[in-house]
């Protein structure tokens, strides 16, 4: 069952070929078997999941099913899940069990999906390798010595290894798309405001957006449809109807104008660039028209991002003070000691670096030079997209400059890690949607092709990706079986 698409699983469940309980048990088995090698999970919720699966079977039997009834799903560990530990990959929240749900995961549950557990991630979503988790490094199922990308590395690795059909992720500067690229799966970051941020533990509020990771654009379409929608509890969520993404996958993409942004090809590995161009050639065969466009301010994007994101994070993470929840140091001498030691112990190295840089960028005398400047550059970067979308419908680029790098390879050089976000961060600064789909590389390791759309043009992005995937088999390739011995 585990390698079936969402469409096949939906049909199979309804035809009685297998039960939700069987599907759930199989996924839990595979997760358990792969965990020692991948470390993709922080928490499993087996008992409740199996009970929910049995209830789903009842519902299916009585024809009381919804879109995702009986389908297993896992969530990145920065979505609050009521009664289920939510750690954000941090010692700070190692024992945190929220009494409330994020809107996104509640929406998914309301569509009938069953939560099996929570996936590992870079601490507070800060990182591009999932090496910065209090719960250990996640491994790439294609090569256990390589990183899965990050920060949604646990979700991407779990989908790639066939442990779960789809998973949620969050993307602040590429955290869905880059791990999707490194793990050979499909990941979509929708427009800012499409999915509620309520209950998604904030990293950088003006950039964070939840999204979906799956084995195909079609599978992502189902999950994105379920999680999206206006939420009165998130002021930045948009009052706009959610399109029926799965129903729109066959939208006509012939004649679509595709732009290749000139600035997105600097420092890209040849193999990755070639894979991206192969995808472009396929799209031409499907009737798309391709032209080169310029995004003149794109080179400022990484710098802009690495000032805005830390600035917002420095403030967003102030609430972790050891008073109402979370880690508290032993025997604080006084209030100042309580704060500074609880926070120093609770946060890992990368989070602390970003809090400090962000605090500095906002501090008296430096605000204009750093944060202020970054806000101005952000305007130019967003305008580049607006201008480009006057002449093209979709922009295409490599998702990441390389294939997955080695575990530990960029340790001790955070700036090198930041530089690798060069093609993903501008999308978050502008708030536009983007999807990463697997391409075909010469190395055999996964590469990602990024497609960027206009605001709220998710349906078109998914349709384009879906039709590319219908014409090729790149997204169907699987790593060697990690959960093999689970095939009892």
């Amino acid at each position: 069952m585990w390698d079936k698409s969402i469409a096949e699983l939906r049909t199979g469940l309804r035809a009685g070929e297998f039960s939700a309980a069987e599907l759930c048990a199989e996924c839990l088995d595979r997760i358990g078997a792969a965990q020692p090698r991948l470390n993709a999970f922080v928490t499993l919720d087996a008992e409740r999941a199996l009970a929910a699966a049995r209830a789903a079977d009842e519902a299916l039997e009585h024809g009381e099913d919804s879109d995702l009834t009986g389908l297993p799903v896992v969530h990145k560990d920065n979505f609050c899940t009521a009664g289920l530990k939510t750690t954000c990959g941090s010692r700070m929240l190692a024992d945190f069990v929220p009494p409330y749900d994020s809107t996104a995961t509640a929406n998914i549950a309301a569509a009938g999906a069953i939560t099996l557990g929570k996936t590992n991630m870079d601490e507070f979503a800060m990182g591009s390798s999932t090496e910065h988790s209090h719960f250990g490094t996640v491994r790439n199922p294609w090569d256990l010595d390589r990183v899965p990308g990050g920060s949604s590395g646990g979700s991407a690795a779990a989908v790639a290894a066939g442990l779960i059909p789809f998973a949620t992720g969050s993307d602040t500067g590429g955290s869905i798309r880059q791990p999707a690229a490194f793990c050979g799966v499909t990941g979509i970051k929708p427009s800012y405001g499409r999915v509620s941020r309520y209950g998604l533990v904030a990293f950088a509020s003006s950039l964070d957006q939840a999204g979906a990771i799956g084995r195909s654009a079609e599978d992502c379409a189902w999950l994105l449809k379920a999680m999206s929608g206006h939420d009165p509890r998130d002021s930045t969520s948009v009052e706009r109807e959610v399109e029926d993404y799965p129903a729109l996958l066959d939208l006509d993409v012939g004649g679509l104008k595709i732009g290749l942004p000139r600035e997105y090809w600097h420092g890209i590995d040849e193999d990755v660039a070639a894979a991206t161009m192969r995808a472009v050639d396929e799209l031409i065969r499907l009737g798309a028209q391709v032209s080169e466009v310029s995004m003149p301010n794109a080179p400022l994007a990484v710098s802009t991002y690495y000032l805005i994101a830390p600035a917002e994070c420095s403030s967003n993470l102030s609430r972790f003070d050891g008073v109402r929840y979370g880690h508290r140091c032993e025997a604080p001498r006084n209030l100042a000691d309580l704060y500074s030691r609880s926070r120093a112990e609770g946060f890992g190295a990368e989070v602390k670096r970003r809090i400090l840089v962000g605090t500095y960028a906002l501090s008296a005398g430096y605000y204009e030079a750093y944060y202020g400047k970054a806000m101005r550059a952000r305007h130019l970067i967003a305008d580049d997209f607006r201008r480009a979308f006057e002449s093209v419908d979709v922009l295409i680029s490599p998702t990441a400059p390389t294939v997955a790098f080695g575990v530990g390879e960029k340790e001790g050089d955070p700036i090198a890690m930041y530089s690798a976000d060069v093609n993903t961060v501008a999308v978050n600064l502008a708030g536009v949607p983007a999807i990463s789909v697997p391409g075909e590389s010469a190395s055999g390791l996964p590469v990602g092709v990024q497609m960027i759309g206009r605001y709220f043009d998710e349906a078109r992005l998914l349709a384009l990706a879906h039709q590319l995937q219908r014409a090729t088999d790149w997204h169907t390739r699987r790593p060697e079986e990690i959960a093999g011995e689970a095939g009892r």
């Binding site: 948009v238 710098s303 008073v323 929840y325 309580l338 030691r341 400090l356 130019l380 955070p414 600064l429």
Partner: protein, 96 residues
Amino acid sequence: MSNIDPQTVAHTARLARLAVGEDELDAYVSHFRALLDFVADLTEAPLEGVEPMAHPLDLQQPLRADEVSEPDARDAFQPLAPEAADGYYLVPKVIE
């Protein structure tokens, strides 16, 4: 951008309420310098006259009706606290 010294980092750490040991200061100084070098393309870009953009979407703040709908949930939240008594969250005594 090398006006970053250990005192700058120590001051910033105090603002952020992060205990940073003397032995950690140098590593942070290096990181600050590297990062500020890294973003120099931006800090040196001529951006006068460009409006700052705080939000990706040009939307306005929605308003909520003035209604009370949050129930008392103290019993759900307070068990999460490292230290609480008689309904209060406790911290080391604050002397004013």
